[in-house]
Amino acid sequence: MHELSVCQSLLTQVQTVARNNRATAVTEVHVSVGLLSGVEPPLLERAFRAARAGTVAANAELILTAPGIRVHCHLCAKETEVALPDLRCGACGHWQTRVLAGDELMLTSVALERPSNPPSTPHV
């Protein structure tokens, strides 16, 4: 259940963004969780509901996207979409491939509510 550790890092980052932008509340937290990231979206959602309490994100919705796995083949140089537990090239079947997408675990964006005199540019 390392999703709770992941969630605590997530909330630390969200709170930093909220503070830097003088937000009064966080309404949405967008996270990209690749199928190879080792994190299970339903567990992350459950951990988020527990961890957000008492923070500026207490009422925030967690919105997850799960990018598929794409690999680049070292032999035929094609890029193909593949599925676990087989990361071999989808075109020629060669096993030496490199994962291009699908292992992300990223906070992509945060939706905030701000008071009427905010700073002029957003701060990450």
């Binding site: 390392h2 980052q13 963004v17 087989d86 030496q96 992509t108 701000r114 540019t121 957003p122």
Partner: protein, 276 residues
């Protein structure tokens, strides 16, 4: 990734990131790896190890696959030739650290309570209790678990995944995130293989290759004469390559790749290191 220099802004998101923001509801683009804090601490650990010429090896497996037994046998075999220390991770007890200390090498036990994995911060606390200047190799025996440890870079150089013959040869297919990051896969307890006829090391290797992983798959038995020779040869080879200046990254690089340009800002580490 960086919070100050804007290097996480790419051609794909620049329009979003620089949108003028008005009062009320607004969206801020972040694009930060969720494990940024851990990965940063891991990089710091790796610097520590490298400053002292210490190779750090992360051992991972299910509980009971024989991580501690392999370490005991390794220390016995290499005791004179390599100066070794061990960081032990378990939920509870000092048992494993005591087993290692009984072999005459330093061992630091980390008890994680309920946590299912070690992280870079826990390892950092432990490595400050080790005489790094007097060591060649530090083994980090992770919490027995084929899931969670895979997500946390500890600052190690090499990942070793153990799989005992009693567990079945399809573990790499069942736990792909763990196995695909391995630098070597060690099939343990091969002395009892005659009782597990359906276990086939060739199938382990086929599953590992299907994960696009080049790790050699070695067999080991701590109960047979010469039973860990292949593992010892691998370890000595990697140690020699490390001593010759080759650097191993440990964890698999996550997408999108971390930027590598130098930062102007100072990273606060929260403590001073004594120079040894």
């Amino acid at each position: 990734m960086c919070e100050t220099c804007g290097c996480n802004i790419t051609p794909g998101n620049v329009s979003l990131a620089q949108q003028p923001v008005s009062a009320g509801q607004t969206t801020v683009e972040v694009l930060e790896n969720l494990l940024h804090a851990n990965d940063h601490a891991a990089g710091h650990n790796r610097e520590h190890f490298e400053r002292h010429g210490v190779l750090a090896v992360n051992l991972m497996s299910s509980p009971g696959s024989g991580k501690t037994a392999l370490l005991e046998a390794t220390i016995e075999a290499l005791g004179e030739r390599l100066r070794v220390a061990v960081i032990e991770g378990d939920l509870e007890t000092e048992n494993d650290a005591q087993r290692i200390r009984a072999k005459g090498v330093p061992a630091i036990q980390i008890t994680t309570g309920t946590a299912c994995h070690l992280d870079a911060h826990l390892v950092h606390d432990a490595l400050h209790h080790l005489p790094l200047a007097d060591l060649d190799v530090v083994f980090i025996e992770n919490v027995g678990n084929l899931v969670c440890p895979a997500s946390f870079d500890l600052g190690h150089h090499l990942s070793v995944t153990l799989l005992s013959v009693t567990e079945g040869d399809d573990k790499p297919a069942k736990y792909p995130v763990m196995f695909r990051g391995s630098d070597v896969v060690v099939v343990t307890k091969t002395d009892v293989a005659p009782y597990f006829e359906d276990f086939d090391t060739a199938r382990v290797e086929a599953h590992v290759r299907a994960l696009a992983c080049e790790a050699p798959v070695l067999e080991a038995s701590v109960r047979s004469p010469g039973g860990i020779d292949a593992w010892l040869d691998w370890l000595k080879t990697m140690r020699t390559r490390f001593a010759q200046g080759e650097r191993f990254s440990g964890a698999i690089e996550r997408n999108p790749p971390a930027h590598t340009h130098p930062h102007g800002h100072h990273h606060h580490h929260g403590h001073e290191h004594e120079s040894r």
